[in-house]
């Protein structure tokens, strides 16, 4: 199915957010949001993905 990952449309096979992250090779300090809502790390495995979902994967950055 197609989802929007960090603003780019991609094709994923994963059924949950957790699967998608591991399929995509994400690891380390990350925070996730689905369709504009925060998804805690602990909830990723129970968070199903649907076609057209908007996923944000964020990591620590410099900030002012």
């Amino acid at each position: 199915m197609r989802i929007d990952l960090n603003g780019a449309a991609i094709e994923v096979a994963a059924r949950t957010l957790a699967e998608a992250l591991s399929d995509l090779g994400y690891d380390g300090a990350l925070a996730t949001a689905l369709n504009g809502r925060f998804v805690p790390a602990t909830a990723r495995t129970e968070t199903p993905l649907h076609d057209g979902d908007r996923v944000e994967v964020l990591a620590p950055m410099q900030g002012g």
Binding site: L24, A29, A31, A59, Q62, G63, G64
Partner: protein, 261 residues
């Protein structure tokens, strides 16, 4: 100084963006003596290492982490960003920034108060980036904020304290609320001025990161903030309209041509 029940030795808070190199960043943090650094969250490219390399670097500084919601233009975005930051940075501290105007980067008082209410209720220790508006400030305190961060001047402008009289009134109106001047500070003298006015701390980034020598400038800001606070506690002389001789006039010699003869 206490912020949300945390004792801090330094009254300088430093941003971590725009430095020429990671090394210069960490050296600047050390040179400034600051106890709090601000960070943010950005999109991570799958498999990238950059950001995840940056994070341990900051953790190693030992400085307390203050994540921000920089760039958010709505309460909703800011709230979600704050929640994501709390998980990643493992802190309930959040610098709440809700931008209302892309040119001036000034806060949206309405969205700011709304987001502050939600986040305070959710257990966050909110550091709201606000204007010098007293009424907005009162709403933020009502929302549960225990620290306020009024701007000195537009973010990154380096113009210092634009509205000294309004900031003076704010300080006087909230004698016991920790007030941190955030944004607009461009020179150590401006940071010292803020401290002399009785503000509790100063948060800055660009003035250090974009200095010719960021590490030396970080040190200069650390000294200036300490000097300004020391002066505030020591009690400044009140300015006078007229001149007054510093050298006593009493006992002045008469070396003119007058005299008995």
């Amino acid at each position: 100084m206490q912020l949300y029940d945390i004792d801090l030795a330094s009254r300088l808070l430093l941003g971590t963006a725009q430095y020429p190199s990671p090394q210069i960043l960490t050296d600047a943090i050390a040179a400034s003596g600051c106890g709090v650094i601000t960070v943010s969250l950005r999109r991570e490219i799958a498999g990238a290492r950059g950001a995840n390399g940056f994070w341990p670097l900051l953790q190693a500084t030992g400085a307390r982490i203050l994540p921000n919601t920089a760039g958010c233009h709505s309460a909703r975005e800011a709230i979600t960003t704050a929640q994501m930051a709390r998980e990643v940075f493992a802190t309930s501290w959040i610098k709440l920034e809700v931008i209302g105007n892309a040119d001036t980067l000034q806060p949206d008082p309405f969205a700011l108060v709304e987001a502050a209410r939600v986040l305070c209720a959710d257990g966050f220790a909110v550091f709201p980036y606000t204007t010098e508006d007293l009424i907005v400030a009162e709403r933020l305190l009502d929302a549960g904020c225990r620290v306020l961060m009024p701007w000195g001047a537009p973010i990154g402008s380096g113009r210092g304290l634009r509205h000294v009289d309004a900031l003076t009134a704010m300080r006087g109106h909230f004698p016991s609320v920790p007030l941190i001047i955030d944004a607009g500070i461009g020179a150590p003298s401006q940071a010292a001025q803020a401290m002399e006015m009785g503000f509790d701390a100063v948060l800055l980034n660009t003035a250090v990161a974009k200095a010719g020598d960021p590490v030396a400038m970080a040190r200069a800001f650390g000294q200036a903030v300490a000097a300004g606070r020391l002066a505030f506690e020591a009690g400044l002389m009140p300015p006078r309209d007229m001149a007054a001789p510093s050298t006593p006039v009493l006992g002045m010699a008469d070396l003119g041509l007058g005299g008995l003869r």
